[in-house]
Amino acid sequence: MLNFLLRRIFTMILTALCLTFIVFYLTNLPPNLEKVAKSEAGSRISDEEVASWLDKNGYAQPVLVRYGEWLGVMPGWTNTADSGEVSGRCIAKGEDPATASRFCGVLQGYWGFSTVFKEDVAGIIGTRLGLTGILMFWVMVLMVPSALIIGVLAGMREGTKLDRSLSTFSIATTATPEYVSGVILIVVFSSSLVGLKWFKGTATSAMDSITFENFFLPVLTIALYGIGYIARMTRASMTEVMTAQYIRTARLKGVSFKNVVMKHALRNALIAPFTVIMLQFPWLLNGVVIVETLFNYKGFGWTLVSAAGNNDIQLLLGCSVVAVVVVLVTQLISDVGYVFLNPRIRIS
């Protein structure tokens, strides 16, 4: 078990390094840097001025070196201007170059400075992630129980009318991406055309105080897409369990159907959905980006979109680190959890 964990964690770190390097490389391609130089030093500067600005600000070094700086394993760049003033990656404005630390990167806790929000990236990501965490929490509260109930109800008696209608419902929700269900829900529940106006079409006010009225639609939109998928997996696993020998034995010895489902089938049927729910996290991340853009809820997804749209390199890098870590950690948890829940699996 320990060996397995260590190997998984090693692969995870390797993957994270590769992915962050890819993002670093792609965001630091010459046209992107040129755009940065032009937005920082003025949009009408000539090509030579762009080159000298990039050189002065440490962008002219090889990509690998700069990746090392960003990561915190290479000493930050320094530049001595003609006036004798020393500037550098790790030297804050007004700080004495002699006392500044040599290394400053993600490992040292320095995530860079956002050019759009004019704030430290770590701070931005912290607050935004908190907002998204609240959203995700309510999504989970709504999604997991309803998906499991639908799946178990559909799977316990295969082929019945209840099964048919619940399965069709699950297929319909998996066929509806968030940007479609979100639009439909907004029109039905908050536009003046239909006139219901039960909920609000934006979640901007939910950032200060969450109410049922302003938060239900975004939560429902993300949850709906996941419900169908998890419910289908639960149904498949439930139907498989219900045909197993021990269920028949339990039925034959006279246990009531309700007890068979609750006591014998349920626990075994929930192993597979657990993995699916964990692997659903990366998907939720996708949904979060769409829904936060649609409902104008300024969480992590919204930040990612605005960072990418405004070529805010440091912030985008920070966002992608978080996104990648979330994906990898959930993969690890799902693997480990699967082993714990299913004693039949032996790892060589």
């Binding site: 590769c18 992915l19 066929a175």
Partner: protein, 391 residues
């Protein structure tokens, strides 16, 4: 302002689709008559769910095909008096009216929805085919040989899968990225796989008949190679391999990127599915029999294992087209890749969502269209799964 009632709107809406209804009736009549001779396709007509799904999918395929006959207005022409007007509103001069209302620029929502189907039907199935070619060509040897090759390829696949899709799109589908030529280099690599696949497929089957094989492979390499070069090269960009006169496929740069990134996102999942199936099938007796017969590894992979894996692959193919449709919509929703004037559903939803509280119809029409197509594909996949499990 005068208005047509809902009765007129619905009636016009349905009559406007007459070529589609006609084509659907012919398809269904022919298929049901000859269903016993049509293999898996014929069996589809035994399941209600499969038939409904197939009907919805074919509806959109025919709509894309006959779009020019169905549309009532040009997709870009604007009538300013019909800006954000509800379905059925007649222009003040009484000359024309929009079946499903006008959008924020006064364009016809109905015609844009109809022509939007063309973008999806053109890109989604083809991109899925390409993703399958990449996934099959890499997944077969990974599963069959195992070892270092498998470890390496699986690591790569997991790497791409760990990327949040939207982040990947934002990194790949930007004007700056187009300037660096990176999407084109990716196209150079990814589009090579169908060629490799076809060549290996024919070679492993016909290597005992060298004459026939030489002709077939020469044909594939010449025609396929030309198409490949024409597809990836674009005069005036970094990858200009062909002179302009021979470049018969002029794919606009942004469509190419959308295509490449969709293939890139889908290929690793296909790879994983294929690898899993191969790991299962390679322990079967008929594979062992082929090995004892002395067949080459590629013959066994392509002509023994692959045909026996077709059931789950066909089902996944349908689901994956639906997923690709969703991805295309996502790209449009974030305004990536396709031009803002393009009538594709994602872009139209994006344009319409900003005014949803006063005029919801420009967003809701393409949203329902996209949902119905994906639903149709899902139902079709479900029907196919049921029917292929039955035998």
């Amino acid at each position: 302002m005068q208005e047509h009632g809902w009765g007129t709107i619905i009636a016009t809406f349905f009559t406007q689709f007459w070529p589609v209804w006609l084509a659907l009736i012919i398809t269904y009549a022919l298929s049901i008559t000859y269903k016993r001779r049509l293999g898996l396709y014929g069996k589809l007509f035994d399941s209600t769910i499969g038939m409904i799904g197939f009907g919805i999918v074919m509806f959109w395929v025919f709509t894309a095909l006959f779009a020019d006959m169905i549309v009532t207005h040009d997709t870009l022409s604007q009538i300013s008096q019909l800006k954000n007007k509800l379905p059925g509103t007649i222009a003040p001069d009484g000359s024309s009216w929009y079946i499903l209302g006008g959008d924020h620029l006064g364009r016809d929502v109905f015609s844009r929805m109809v022509l939007g189907s063309r973008v999806v039907i053109q890109i989604a199935p083809l991109a899925t085919v390409f993703a399958f070619m990449v996934g099959i060509t890499l997944g077969l040897p990974a599963g069959y040989y195992g070892g270092k090759l498998d470890t390496f390829l699986s690591f790569l696949a997991n790497l791409i899968l760990a990327f949040p899709v939207i982040l990947l799109f934002y990194l790949l589908v930007t004007p700056e990225m187009v300037k660096t030529g990176l999407p084109q280099y990716m196209a150079v690599v990814l589009f090579l796989f169908p060629l490799i696949f076809l060549t290996v497929l024919l070679n492993s089957r016909y290597y005992v008949r060298p004459n026939l094989r030489n002709i077939l492979i020469a044909g594939v390499v010449l025609i396929g190679g030309w198409a490949y070069l024409a597809l990836v090269s674009e005069p005036g960009t970094r990858v200009a391999l062909l002179p302009k006169a021979m470049d018969f496929i002029a794919l606009p740069g942004n469509i190419l990127i959308v295509f490449v990134s969709v293939v890139f996102v889908n290929a690793p999942t296909v790879y994983r599915i294929i690898r899993g199936i191969v790991l299962d099938i390679k322990t079967r007796d008929y594979v062992a029999a082929a090995q004892t017969r002395g067949e080459g590894p590629w013959y066994i992979m392509l002509w023994e294992i692959l045909p026996n894996a077709r059931g789950p692959l066909i089902v996944d193919f349908c689901l994956r087209i639906g997923y690709t449709t969703i991805l295309l919509g996502t790209l449009g929703f974030f305004g990536l890749g396709l031009s803002p004037e393009s009538p594709d559903w994602g872009s139209t939803i994006n344009a319409g969502r900003k005014l949803m509280s006063i005029a919801p119809h420009p967003a809701i029409v393409p949203a329902l269209a996209l949902m119905s197509l994906v639903l149709g594909l899902n139902l079709l996949a479900d029907g196919l799964r049921e029917e292929s499990l039955r035998d």
